[in-house]
Amino acid sequence: MTDYQGLTYLDNAATTPMPEEVLAVIDEYYRFNKVNVHRGIYQLAGRVTSAYEAVREQIAQWLHAPKPESVVFTSGTTDALNQVAFGYAQPRLHPGDEIIVSVLEHHSNLVPWQRVAAQTGARLRMVGMDSQGNLDYAQLAELINTHTKVVALTMVSNVLGTVVDVAKVAQLVHQYDGILVVDAAQAAAHLPIDVTAMDADFLSFSGHKMFGPTGIGVLYGKLARLEEMEPVRFGGEMVDLVTPTSATFQPLPIRLEAGTPNVAGVLGLGAAVKYLEKQDFAAIQKHEARLMQFLLTELQEVPEVKIYGPLDYQQRVGVVSFNVGKHHAHDVATILDASGVAVRAGHLCAEPLMQALNVSSVMRASFTFENQVADLQRLVDAVEQGGRILS
């Protein structure tokens, strides 16, 4: 696992550390097998291509997707969500259509939809949250109607850690023939994901937030949806017959993967999924719940600390955002860092949520099942000290 050399790393929601075994797979590729995929007649290219495609199958299984062709490799969640916005939604939305996002969204699941709405004349609507920071399902039920074409929601808030019941939303959305786009970036390292059970039309996540490498992510789509999608990038691999004036395209999923893919990234992502698969997920979730309970309890003891989102540890996953009195998050974060604790401070790429919380910035501590109570204890101690220095 990445060794932060004494630093207590609690910015896992930004990117997680990476286990040795993932690095080993990347290293092996670069050390012995650095070839391109899909086009080589020589056996080494065939072997690497098989390994690459095996990761696709593995991820399909991990997500409970019916077919490997449902798994498209992207450069990350942002890339994946933009492909859905511009490759799927943009060509089929019209004035009068509606897109719904929530106030919990990361900018990556908001700004593309703003742009698509502006380009197509569709209306972008935003569903709020309840007093606990959970999605306001009642409001969502009111907002959804026959004009609703796309509902795009995060599965786990990267600020509040609240979990959206996407399966429940899917039912509602599908009643009105809309599609559900799930941003699982913050869910992938923490929750089991079953795209079939939740009935999402699209779902995406990033390798680097689930113990994998940077520069790689996944777009899952129902086959029918992916078939309807237009590529947003054109080039090598994804075409079939090209003449000076025309091009036909390959079948899924290659049609959506233009150019040389991030081969090392895909192989590393496969190793990261393997790493997650070999964990005892029930035990992990119990451990994470204990960490969350500890952190919420102890932070509340610190004078002036205000925690955002639910105080019930069972209602949140992996992240706790807070402020200390009127002290600015940047100042506190600097003091935490000087005490050897790394947390994020700022708007966390979720400005509408900051506006709803009526703050300009927060501090965020985020952990994975690799963390221990002692890590959180160091955080709590440092927060206490920070309050003192700044007062």
Binding site: R39, I41, Y42, Q43, G46, L241, Q250
Partner: protein, 146 residues
């Protein structure tokens, strides 16, 4: 004989050089075309199917030794055979290529492809004509592939 020599043995080279049934089929009612996107080669298979029987089979297109020989052998073996027979041979041939249990006696010249599985990047070449045939039959409502 090493794997490579086995793959490029006489019977295969001969089929490729003088393919059986090269050309269109006058009364074809099933036509399937497939491209191998890696080399750009296209193969078209023409079949006249009547009373659940392949009355006449042919193909056109250019390609590598492996795809041409496999197409030629396919035509040689399936001409005049029932669709049921054809389906069985296709399964048998697939089994050979996938190294599963197969009946080499039924395969005729196709048995020469026994080492094809050693060249996984070429399996597509060796089965291209068959998939094209399947495409053609699909339009007639016959499920041949899979």
């Amino acid at each position: 004989m090493n794997n490579l020599q086995e793959l490029y043995q006489k019977v295969i080279l001969n089929h490729a050089k003088n393919p059986v049934g090269y050309g269109t089929v006058p009364h074809a009612n099933c036509v399937g075309a497939l491209r191998n996107p890696e080399c750009g080669d296209e193969i078209t298979v023409y079949a006249e199917v009547d009373a659940q029987r392949i009355q006449q089979l042919g193909f056109t297109g250019a390609g590598c030794v492996i795809s041409m020989a496999s197409a030629s052998m396919m035509v040689a073996q399936l001409n005049g055979r029932t669709l049921a027979d054809a389906h069985q041979l296709w399964e048998n041939f697939q089994n050979l290529v996938l190294q599963k249990d197969c009946d080499p006696d039924q395969l005729g010249d196709l048995a020469a492809f026994a080492s094809l599985h050693q060249f996984p990047t070429r399996v597509r070449c060796g089965t291209l004509a068959w998939h094209a045939l399947a495409e053609g039959l699909k339009e007639k409502g016959e499920v041949f592939d899979g």
